[in-house]
């Protein structure tokens, strides 16, 4: 990495904490982010499944929508039914182009005073904000880039609720898919019962200057610093989509299996194209290897010996100890149990289509 490239990268308010903890910092979507800490990806991953991990996700963006028409405006641009989103609630949706291609996948929180906060992927943030602002004509709304207002931490794992409760004082943690304002370790936060690991816990939004104190309090209580690499393996085990891998402008949310977050009758931007497209030819499916090997993004997927699609995400599952991934295949090959092969750099590895999620916590 050259010095010039490093100079242009943005740093989160927790950069010093990561450096002090011995993190490996890498460029990610214009930010210098911790990809892993000294324990390593596998150990960090398992720590989140067994105890609790803490992620700096301050690179993620936020767009705040306010004004009398905030709800009808968001209904116009987001795929889900925003009228079902009550104050203090959270909702997943996608942002579509007119042709149904996916621009981003997003969580929207409904705050007090009719305001909404939409969390964007770092790499898409500016485009999302411009897209939303560009579709606001005719609506009495303010669409504001609020990314500089917030640092964002994700506290995840079976012990995360306990750690959070210890720092909430008299406050109460929001339920899953709910949000609440609360002081956590003395820091004013928007606490959201959401996450990207399949574990319990919360995502915490706070002011930049408060982030180090919040980080210190939560790590002191046993939440292990966890890098973006483990975040990726954790989300893939539970089949959460990653924009740029599993979602793109070339794919519709229906192909991607996100029909549950797409309410065509709300007539959002892209709904007409999706309605006209009908049943998609391809489907995004999770798969697991039945033998050795590790699938990687871009590996061809074969059905009955013929290439039919590409792996969009692949890794070795730290919990299952086998190669896992997701990729697009023809609808006829999308049923769980369908045998497939993955061409891993010239070697055909055996796999089968599985149900979501690939990893399920033992009851």
């Amino acid at each position: 990495m050259t010095a010039a490239a490093t100079d242009t990268l943005r740093r989160t308010p927790l950069h010093d904490r990561h450096a002090a903890a011995g993190a490996r910092l890498v460029p990610f979507a214009g930010w210098e982010m911790p990809v892993q800490y000294p324990p390593g990806i596998k150990a960090e991953h398992l720590e989140v499944r067994r105890n609790a991990g803490l992620f700096d996700v301050s690179h993620m963006g936020q767009v705040e929508t306010s004004g009398p028409d905030a709800e009808p405006f968001l209904q116009h641009v987001l795929s889900n039914d925003v009228t079902k989103l009550r104050e203090g609630g959270a909702q997943y949706s996608v942002l579509c182009r007119e042709d149904g291609g996916v621009l981003d996948d997003l969580f929207t929180y409904r705050l007090e005073d009719g305001r909404f906060l939409t969390v964007t992927n770092a790499a898409n943030h500016e485009r999302d904000h411009l897209w939303m602002a560009g579709h606001a004509e005719g609506y009495d709304v303010t669409v504001r880039d609020a990314a500089d207002d917030y640092a964002m931490l994700a506290l995840q794992g079976p012990c995360a609720p306990e750690i959070l409760a210890a720092h909430l004082g008299d406050g109460e943690a929001p339920a899953r898919m709910r949000t609440a304002r609360a002081r956590v370790a003395g820091v004013e936060c928007l606490v959201c019962g959401t996450g990207y690991t399949g574990e319990g816990g919360a995502e915490l939004l706070c002011a930049h200057e408060d982030a180090p104190a919040l980080w210190d309090a939560l790590t002191a209580s046993g939440a292990a610093p966890t890098g973006l690499a483990a975040r990726d393996t954790l989300r893939l085990e539970v089949c959460f989509h990653l924009y740029g891998n599993d979602l793109s402008e070339d794919r519709t949310p229906i192909e991607a299996g996100l029909g549950w977050a797409v309410k065509l009758d709300t007539d959002f931007v892209g709904a007409e194209a999706l309605r006209a497209a009908g049943e998609p030819a391809d489907r995004l499916v999770p798969f697991a290897f039945t033998g050795p090997g590790i699938p990687r993004q871009g590996n061809p997927i074969l059905v009955e010996g013929k290439p039919v699609g590409l792996v969009t995400s692949g890794t070795l599952s730290p919990c299952l100890g086998i190669g896992i991934g997701m990729g697009y295949v023809p609808a006829a090959a999308a049923s769980p149990g369908t045998p497939v092969e993955i061409d891993v750099r010239g070697r055909r590895r055996t796999a089968e289509v599985r149900e979501k999620p690939l990893y399920r916590k033992e009851q």
Binding site: Q36, K42, T233, P292, G293, I294, R296, T315, R345
Partner: protein, 131 residues
């Protein structure tokens, strides 16, 4: 736990971060401390088959961490006479003991003079420090 950074004096080194331990007409190959540290925890080693002919400077195997795949380059040419099957079950031995339990293949060398093109420990360590 991961090994401490070392580059033993009795080995020869290839600038693609591989080592060779020469014993008569045979050599044992593996990857260096620097290579395993850059890669992270090794979770998969796909060994070549015994009998395979390998060529100096060409990849002969792949080693994978959770995030990345890396080619393993032959420091010298020859025919593989043994592979470290134990790495199938314990690939992290490459991290724990890169010059011992983490060895990858044993090779009958076809051109022992190729050793003259390899680096000694001091020269290799210098290369690593400058990279």
């Amino acid at each position: 736990m991961a090994a401490e950074q070392t580059y033993p004096d009795d080995l020869l080194y290839h600038d693609e971060h591989d080592w060779a331990r020469l014993e008569g007409e045979e050599g044992t190959f593996g990857i260096t401390w620097f290579a395993q540290d850059s890669l992270g925890e090794v979770v998969f080693f796909d060994p070549p088959e015994v009998g395979t002919t390998i060529s100096k400077d060409q990849p002969y195997a792949e080693v994978e961490s959770v995030k990345a795949v890396s080619d393993v380059v032959a420091p010298m040419s020859g025919e593989i006479v043994a592979v470290n099957e134990a790495l199938g079950d314990e690939p992290a031995a490459v991290n724990d003991d890169p010059y011992g339990e983490g060895w990858m293949v044993r090779v009958r060398l076809t051109d022992p003079t190729e050793r003259d093109q390899l680096l000694d420990a001091r020269a290799y360590e210098k290369l690593v420090q400058e990279s």
